[in-house]
Amino acid sequence: MKSLSELQELKEKTLQEINLRMQNGGTKIVVCMGTCGIAAGARETMRAIVAELKNKNVNYASVLLSGCDGNCEEEPVVKVIEPTGEETVYVHVDTEGGKRIVNEHVIAHKVVDGMTR
């Protein structure tokens, strides 16, 4: 390492990896991971969301799991909670839907059409 810019580059790269420890109040994506959710494919959905966040270098959103939300019929259920506390519930979210949530809601700040309740 011979320059400050190299240091800065390494800092930003690593920050992306450890950003989720910072608790800086970004967007939360909560995937319901009850037995019903897992059976309906919530795990695959969640993995797709994590992969898409990585692809798009989003470091202000974190992925959380929760238990069953009570509407097992609508699984997989994904909630997006803005830093303001505003909550959007998406239902029947498959892997494609997960990617759309990342791109349209988390990145472009628009509620995804046709996936809400």
Partner: protein
């Protein structure tokens, strides 16, 4: 780059390591793999979180949930419930004693709320064995800034302006120390780090080195640039194997990245750091003895002046700072002296790390702004005294320090307030004592330590501490006379001015301060041959109250020496000539009929 959705931080400080945190990591990684979660959840080993009393500690991000007292057998439940299904294992989540609700984030815990972490900023946040994580938290940015945008004089000016004082105990202004060394003429100069933490009950420096070793390396390189030195030494005791290991790893990584070595950041500045392991002699924490020991000789102090800044290691100008002092340096240079001086009191700026120990619920490591009161540390951060006992005194500064009695609990903790009341900041050991502690016995304990650790070079310390210990021994055995108190005071005041180094000069402090605040307790031992706290065994006797004794015989069965006798259903008696004062009878009596 790997992207995980969750990071599990497992404390691998000395405390949690000895309660099996490395095995918890192994088991967790195995179970994560069995459940197909190894690409989603990353296990990270970190340094100390500070809440050592409740270790092993596991913190899960992004939620910030803190699990405490995690047993190897709990790992399966955490993996299968929390990581697989998102259900927090409530029974293991840390909560405040007085709160029925679990803390949903580590930040909401009372233990952390009042703290302000500068020296400990990265402890429990990063993997100390991964330089990248330190860099992500602005690591080595301060060194970069100094080398490329500041002159050595500007670095010294900034440190002086911050009013940072040495955290090793005496509180000498760091900037002034650096400026003396910078002014000294010489082709070779040295930068040393004092990691010979020897006070009983102190573990601040160890925790910083275990949790964030790079912050000390970075600060030493900055100091080297400031005074014109190319070589640093860290003097650390061999009894800190984890800290030594992590320092070795950190030095190797910094060298690999070119952050130590030749032409750092492409400039003319080169700096290297070596470790020197000490054998654990307390006197080697004294600066001149430490340097003599680095040179390979027997660790004995020498007279000052000349001060190390003029003639130190191998006769060359040297600066020696404590671990915690160094840990503050990068932040001061990054955020500026003006930021640092907003924290703390008029003459003590910044924060101080304390190792809380003794009779306190949250035994562990805390960092608070200077000026925080002892009450806030003990009651709010420390969670109070166990079993509802009453606070009696706190000892700061270990064997060199003094005690703060209960009536001064609202004293703001800074260098000058503590000196004014006869205690001292010391390196940061804070031992809390309750009504069951005998102050004469405490003074005797610390004196026993200094008698053992005195190097023997000067007679006031070698002979004087021994005599003082003998007098204390006599008092606790009930053979004290009133003239002993005058003799003690006489010895204390003489040794204070006559001893060669800091060890001897401060050795009388525990006696002077207990005499100042607890003279009545000394008199009680001497005049009435009684130990009010019930600690000094020779002054104790256990007596069965005949009117309260129901003659159940439990005490007689429990007594290890058969000193208790009596008929069934009638009052028992203790044979004082056989009694060894273990107190078992008193603790077992169902009718509380035994008094001491």
């Amino acid at each position: 780059m790997d992207m995980y959705r969750a990071h599990v931080l497992v404390c691998c400080g000395t405390g949690c390591t000895s309660s099996k945190s490395p095995q918890i990591i192994d088991s967790m990684e195995k179970l994560l793999a069995e459940n197909g979660l190894e690409t989603e959840v990353k296990v990270v080993k970190t340094g100390c979180f500070g809440l050592c009393a409740r270790g092993p500690i596991v913190v899960v991000y992004p939620e910030g949930i803190m699990y405490t007292h995690v047993d190897l057998s709990d790992v399966k439940e955490i993996v299968e419930e929390h990581f697989l299904k998102g259900r927090v294992v409530k029974r293991l989540v840390a909560s405040d004693e007085d709160s029925a609700e679990i803390a949903h984030s580590i930040q909401n815990l009372g233990f952390f709320k009042k703290q302000m972490r500068i020296a400990l900023r990265n402890c429990g946040m990063i993997n100390p064995e991964n330089i990248d994580e330190y860099i992500a938290h602005d690591g080595y940015a301060a060194l970069g800034k100094c080398l490329t945008a500041m002159t050595p004089q500007e670095v010294i000016d900034e440190v002086s302006k911050s009013q940072l004082r040495g955290r090793g105990g005496a509180g000498f202004p760091t900037g002034r120390k650096w400026s003396f060394a910078a002014q000294s003429k010489g082709d070779i100069k040295y930068v040393c780090c004092n990691a010979d933490e020897g006070d009983p009950g102190a573990f601040m420096d160890r925790s910083i080195l275990e949790g964030d070793p790079h912050s000390v390396l970075e600060a030493m390189a900055i100091a080297g640039y400031a005074i014109g030195s190319n070589q640093g030494y860290i003097y650390i005791r061999a009894e800190y194997p984890i800290a030594v290991e992590r320092l070795r790893i950190a030095i190797a990584q910094a060298k690999e990245y070119g952050l130590l070595g030749n032409n750092i950041f492409g400039t003319d500045f080169s700096f290297d750091i070596e470790l020197r392991l000490g054998a654990g002699a307390f006197v080697c924490g004294e600066e001149t003895a430490l340097m003599v020991s680095i040179e390979g000789n027997r660790g004995e102090p020498r007279t000052r002046p000349p001060f190390p800044a003029v003639k130190g290691l191998w006769g060359k100008p040297t600066i020696l700072n404590n671990v915690e002092t160094y840990a503050n340096i990068p932040m001061i240079l990054l955020k500026g002296a003006d930021w640092f001086t907003t924290i703390g009191t008029e003459k003590s700026k910044g924060t101080k790390v304390f190792a809380l120990g003794g009779k306190i619920n949250n035994t562990g490591l805390v960092e608070v702004p200077m000026g925080t009161t002892l009450r806030e540390i003990i009651e709010e951060i420390g969670g109070g005294i166990p079993h509802g006992k009453k606070f009696k005194a706190a000892q700061t500064g270990g064997p060199s320090g003094g005690c703060i009695p209960a009536e001064l609990i609202d004293t703001p903790i800074d260098y000058d307030s503590l000196t004014a009341i006869g205690a001292m900041m010391g390196s940061g050991g804070l031992i809390v004592m309750d009504e069951d502690n005998c102050m004469v016995d405490i003074a005797k304990f610390f004196l026993e330590f200094t008698v053992d650790e005195s190097c023997g070079k000067c007679s006031p310390c070698r002979i004087g501490t021994k005599r003082m210990h003998e007098i204390l021994e006599k008092i606790t055995k009930g053979q004290g006379e009133l003239s002993d108190i005058d003799k003690l005071e006489d010895l204390c005041n003489t040794i204070k001015i006559a001893a060669l180094c800091g060890l001897g000069q401060t050795a009388p402090n525990p006696i002077l301060s207990t005499l100042r605040y607890f003279k009545q307790e000394y008199l009680e031992h001497i005049v009435n041959k009684r130990c009010p706290a019930g600690v000094c065994k020779d002054l104790l006797s256990y007596i069965i109250m005949p009117d309260q004794c129901k003659g159940c015989g439990i005490c007689a069965k429990q007594c290890p020496v058969g000193a208790i006798s009596g008929e069934k259903k009638s009052a028992h008696v203790i044979d004082q000539s056989k009694c060894i004062k273990c107190g078992v009878c008193m603790s077992k009596c169902p009718f509380k009929a035994i008094k001491r």
